[in-house]
Symmetry: C2
Subunit: 399 residues, 2 copies
């Protein structure tokens, strides 16, 4: 396996659920040595999803390219082992509720005393103070506060709607991975270490703003941010499936008219210019919807493509596995794991031509790397066996 | 202003619209010297959004913390100037359709001959080959192909729905910023330069997978990925506004019953355990919805909070500006710009305690930095004036 861009970096991952784990997984795919530290019961996500010999699909998809150390931090010996590990690490990431990590004996001060130049990362839902700071983080609560549920509100009733995938969690992951990488770059160049704090709420407000809230930018000249989101509901029904198609420019509109055999619309004053089409959007949608419904999807998509009108079938998640573009891009890989059998995973999206990011391993079973990691820290086989007997270390092999 | 983590890095930004510009804006906020290179007409986004003296809100929100060089690349003199700039750059980012950048004379080979260790970045919609590669990129087309419209499908009718914010564009931005930063780290450590290729489609498949498609991971043991997304529709109507509230654990459920003055439900066998509640989700939602509707939001949110039930009002985008948590986190800043007046912008989400990321400047007017940048490259004032007269350089000052 070729070295990734983060080769040589060691990350201690004390995070749970999604926002933290997916962030460190990205770093692991890029070659960092990510060590997931879990309590004897394992983290909660090990109980979520489809079970395969004791490995669940949800845990797997948030924790590949990592090693696992399962250690009871409530024992002095367990804490001591992790502190030894801290001395070897470049990054520590935690997403407990504010204050918890200090009570666990791994607060920034303690950690920095052991490893002065560590990048210390705290991911939270709402920040470290404020009315929500101590509330348990559910993705819908962030969606509610950050404006996402407002963006998705039903056009007719105004009733807010949630997005049915955990955009706040996952956007926080990518944002955290970027920030950690930037801090590693700065440290490499200047020796400067630091603490990065990232709240999901802040992440989402910043993420949504450039387009969804930009209308609020000029103070005293604000406009309704919901205006202009019309174009995004381009879902059409054909004879046999749903598709999307968009005709924004004059050329695209003309192409759509030809594809639909409705050249008569080319001369229709209501649709001749972009602004006229915007003004008569309801009539236009009614006409195009009715025409599109007359065609089988394959035929129509071919005709639209031939006219350079952007279009695509709306794919289900199973279907996309077989889509020609998805296959050509080799987005979905099948890894033949000796324990789990064939496992589908998306490859890391960014293709580095010199230091590839790749799925380096499936997620580890609980405590799979206890012995290796403890040996790296200088523990003898006997000591490791003793710690295991006393329940300080724990291991749950495949079922 | 304190140096950011990417201080000392120069990025040539040849991108347009959102995916590329927001990526380089993040790098600019983190202290990179981002130079946006635009044709004499300016990029398209300069025409989108609310106009303020010739600066639009949409352009502003995707292009702050950058400088602007407006140059006609179709002239030999213009191309020559940009090639001189290439020699000073660490990163070049472009998101033209496949092949276009080569025809412009700034393909990877040409650029690398001038600056061998540059990080060359190509962002695309669908990748460089395949049935969609040459199609114009509209966000809904990516949403259709990547599974997002499927995720958002109406539960009753199965009709797919788009998410009404451009998640593919913006997720690609953050993913690109992370990849670029990782490549900069690798180059800093090993001297290795490279080409990063990132497709929006790949980005979205990888982004959605950990939770929305994880059920497809184990080959031959797949489950319906739509199962388990139920929890995300937690929108309730109170007497006076919409809120969200979630009761997942036994304690949270019990807390919700008490907050609603429905202690009788504590003994209801249909809701006693998490699995029983999952089984009777429809009845439970019906009962809680009816109860919640009896309360004014403020009162009920206080009661739910007192019982440790995660909850929040569902905020509109204007409203969130005044939310107490948003204010305490100082997410939204107001910058007093001498030309534009007071401008609201979200601060960069990640807080670095040693090398802060911050909004370093508003977006530049077209060609605002022509003179400075050309002088840095060694052009004399006369030469710059001549290039301006001949239309090679162009500048559009505030109206």
């Amino acid at each position: 396996m070729m070295p990734g861009p983060l080769e040589g970096i060691r990350v201690l991952d004390l995070t749970t659920m999604v926002s933290g784990p997916v962030a460190t997984m990205m770093l692991g795919d890029q070659g960092a040595d990510v060590i997931k530290i879990e309590p004897p019961a394992g983290e909660l996500m090990r109980n979520v999803g489809i079970d395969n010999r004791g490995m669940t699909s949800s845990f797997l998809c948030c924790n590949r390219s990592k090693r696992s150390l399962c250690v009871d931090l409530k024992t002095p010996e367990g804490l001591e082992a992790v502190r030894k590990l801290v001395a070897t690490a470049d990054v520590l990431v935690q997403n407990f509720r504010p204050g918890a990590i200090d009570r666990m004996g791994l607060g920034e001060g303690t950690v920095r005393a052991i490893k002065p130049d560590i990048i210390y990362v705290s991911i939270s839902g709402f920040g470290e103070t404020g009315p929500y700071a101590d509330q348990r983080v559910y993705d819908p609560v962030i969606q509610a506060l950050c404006g996402l549920a407002d963006i998705q509100a039903d056009r007719d009733t105004g009733r807010p709607r949630m997005v049915r995938t955990i955009v706040p969690d996952k956007t926080t992951s990518v944002t955290a991975a970027q920030a950690i990488t930037a801090a590693l770059f700065a440290r490499e160049r200047t020796g400067q270490a630091q603490h990065i704090r990232l709240a999901m709420l802040d992440t989402m407000v910043a993420y949504l703003w450039p387009e969804a809230s930009s209308a609020l930018s000029f103070v005293e000249r604000e406009a309704d941010p919901a205006r202009g989101q019309m174009g995004l509901d381009l879902v059409y029904e054909t004879k046999d499936r749903y598709i999307t198609a968009g005709a924004v420019t004059d050329r695209e509109w003309q192409g759509m008219c030809r594809a639909l055999n409705r050249e008569d619309l080319l001369e229709d004053e209501r649709f001749k210019t972009a602004s006229a089409r915007f003004q008569h959007v309801a009539e236009r949608r009614e006409i195009t919807s009715a025409e599109i419904l007359k065609w089988p999807a394959d035929d129509l998509l071919k005709r639209l493509k031939a006219e350079d009108v952007p279009c695509a079938p709306i794919l289900g998640r199973r279907e996309l596995l077989d889509d020609e573009q998805v296959r050509m891009n080799e987005i979905i890989e099948v890894h033949d794991d000796p324990t789990l059998g064939p496992v589908r995973q998306p490859r890391p999206a960014a293709r580095f031509d010199a230091t590839p990011a790749e799925v380096r391993s499936m997620a580890p079973f609980l405590g799979a790397d206890n012995a290796d990691l403890m040996a790296e820290l200088g523990y003898t086989e006997d000591e490791i066996a003793g710690l295991t007997d006393r329940g300080v270390l724990h291991r749950r092999p495949p079922a």
